[in-house]
Subunit: 425 residues, 2 copies
Amino acid sequence: MFSRDVAHGARPVGFAALYFPTCTMSIHDLTRKLQLKNDSKIVLLVADGLGGLPLEPGGKTELETANTPHLDALARRGTLGLSTPVLPGITPGSGPGHLGLFGYDPLAYQIGRGVLEALGIDFDLGPDDVAIRGNFCTLDEDGNIADRRAGRVGNEIAAPLCEKLDQIEIPSVEVFVRHVKEYRLVVVFRGEGLGGDVDDTDPQQTGVPPLEPVARNEASQRTVEVAKQFLAQAREVLKEGHPANFLTLRGIAKRPPIPTFEEVYGTRAAAIAVYPMYRGLAKLVGMDIIGPSTTLDDQMDWLARSWNEHDFFFVHFKYTDSTGEDGNFAAKVKRTEEADACIPKILALDPTVVIVTGDHSTPSKMRSHSWHPVPTLISAEMCRYDGSEAFGESQCRAGGLGQFEAKYLMPMALAHAGRLEKFGA
Amino acid sequence: MFSRDVAHGARPVGFAALYFPTCTMSIHDLTRKLQLKNDSKIVLLVADGLGGLPLEPGGKTELETANTPHLDALARRGTLGLSTPVLPGITPGSGPGHLGLFGYDPLAYQIGRGVLEALGIDFDLGPDDVAIRGNFCTLDEDGNIADRRAGRVGNEIAAPLCEKLDQIEIPSVEVFVRHVKEYRLVVVFRGEGLGGDVDDTDPQQTGVPPLEPVARNEASQRTVEVAKQFLAQAREVLKEGHPANFLTLRGIAKRPPIPTFEEVYGTRAAAIAVYPMYRGLAKLVGMDIIGPSTTLDDQMDWLARSWNEHDFFFVHFKYTDSTGEDGNFAAKVKRTEEADACIPKILALDPTVVIVTGDHSTPSKMRSHSWHPVPTLISAEMCRYDGSEAFGESQCRAGGLGQFEAKYLMPMALAHAGRLEKFGA
């Protein structure tokens, strides 16, 4: 019914076997075993990069500055806390950030750069696909790299080159090449027996030639052969393409095997996201992708329309992150208020549990993702109300959820929805 | 010198080896190594199901509503916190709840239903015993289950049937059958070579026959043979017993091998509990059972009488849980006040460390155990006083112990008692 993790190793002889705890269980072992079905509905609203920083001591964060009457009302009838996406001090990318929120230990389930890049352009990756992030580069006459990004070549040049590369044929392997933006592209090899553990060919410096692909294990040897054939043909295709007269391969990876939401939580999950990367991450864990939508209003419409067919809803809001990345405090405040404005539409559907959080912090002061723990709100009938007055970092710090690893958010969501039975008698 | 725990286990194939971390020590590896003897006395008062919920936002929990002058005084000279029995969102049964308080990782030491049921009737389980929870059921003429609980048959019928079943003889195995209540009974097979990993025979539905017992491993094959012989004889014994004309076997399990308190902590521990299940759990970890007692006053008498022979005292108070399970907020408040009233008797003995906590929360709002973290109080001379004014969930949320996994309570108890030496030089 459920697997067990062996929790120990070598021990004092004669003692170990008898006394020491043999097994322990992962979160998913527990949720697999304890999951219950009922009619509850759980909404997880992820305001990307929600956490912020005050600009100076005594100041307010973006979330605390924003006028968020609906989130504040939710906070008063819920429980707050701060979630740590990976570990204290560790700044997550979008992949680990979301996997943590979805309850998958981001240290156990790692997603290669190539896979994320493919998800980010809505490429439908299969289990036999090796995904690669490609960078156009400029080679000099000696074959050494003169520019690792091909002078950030424009889309109007790079896109047609990708179409040419997409024509490359390799026996018994399907090859896909898709342009992403400027010098960035995605390469996918589809075929049996292709491992995903191959080193980058980008030497991370100029004045030297690109590296040859090297397998990190036997299972990836065939991928190396395919990559070499691809690179040989690409060199021909691109030879007149200066500054984009070659490419490097990075983040070569396969889609990791991840158990589905249905299996580990017993929920039929829907993902409602404007941007492909977040749809892709949701698809990795087996959520149904609902849409398309281009605005939060669209997303709210889809939420209502998919309400009866699902019981878990992941709604992704991008702009709290992008404004943070822009270093625009005022714009992040405004985007936070936009997220606040959608709360009544969610509540009109009468969800059992509403969670509002982010996949990480993106303080506009830093213009980047950060390690700071993320404000989190759970509102449900069975909350231990914690006297919170508003939704913000300071209130969350004193909240009833305490500071917790993001991977525990899903068990808490299920618990508040009455979807986990008692563990042990 | 010390062993290492491999901190991971089964993972998606091909993934684990590459990515997952390595080795660490368990709590018990540490306490075994660091334990010191002295004259200190530690009292652990477990008010079962202590944690609660306010009925509405801004409201008070049962503990916060109760008038608890003695607990509040302890809180002022102690340190408070909230303990998580298993993991966030996971609701524990009494077994995992108490093992956690006793410092045993409840995910590593799992106690089968049959074992708990046997402990609950004071059956003295040995290491060679396989314990089984039996349910009388009603079979129809075709041998299909018509009622999984035999119409909740009365004690006056069920008890004599258990006495008859207790007469069953199986070569080279001792068979014990004990009535519990209504349709519930305990079956124990005692003999060498009996494994404890056998599936339930209860099909969890009516209209189908009971399942045959099936071993989950080779070591339990003999148990299956014994169970089949037992069931064949039971069918004869019960054939005229309608509605209790057969039984199903559930939670088939052996007592897990658990290191003793003496060994892992170096303490002589006493358990003072009114109800057999809690005496049984204490016995599993090697505590001496002190009693009998039927009231908290009795328990306080036994505490005083056993004071010199022991240095750790587990006192169990049941009624904060049972009133919570009844959904009776006012009664839980009253029972909490009863627990408060025993504190002066404990303090009169001049203990070094007093801990008051619960094995889990049982909010009367939910009428069941819950996942909410449990108010916890440590009072000792060496506490870092945290300014707490009273004992309650809100004060605990802001307390100096923070939110912690229950399994860390024992090392903290030992530390405050001066019973752990420095780790490393």
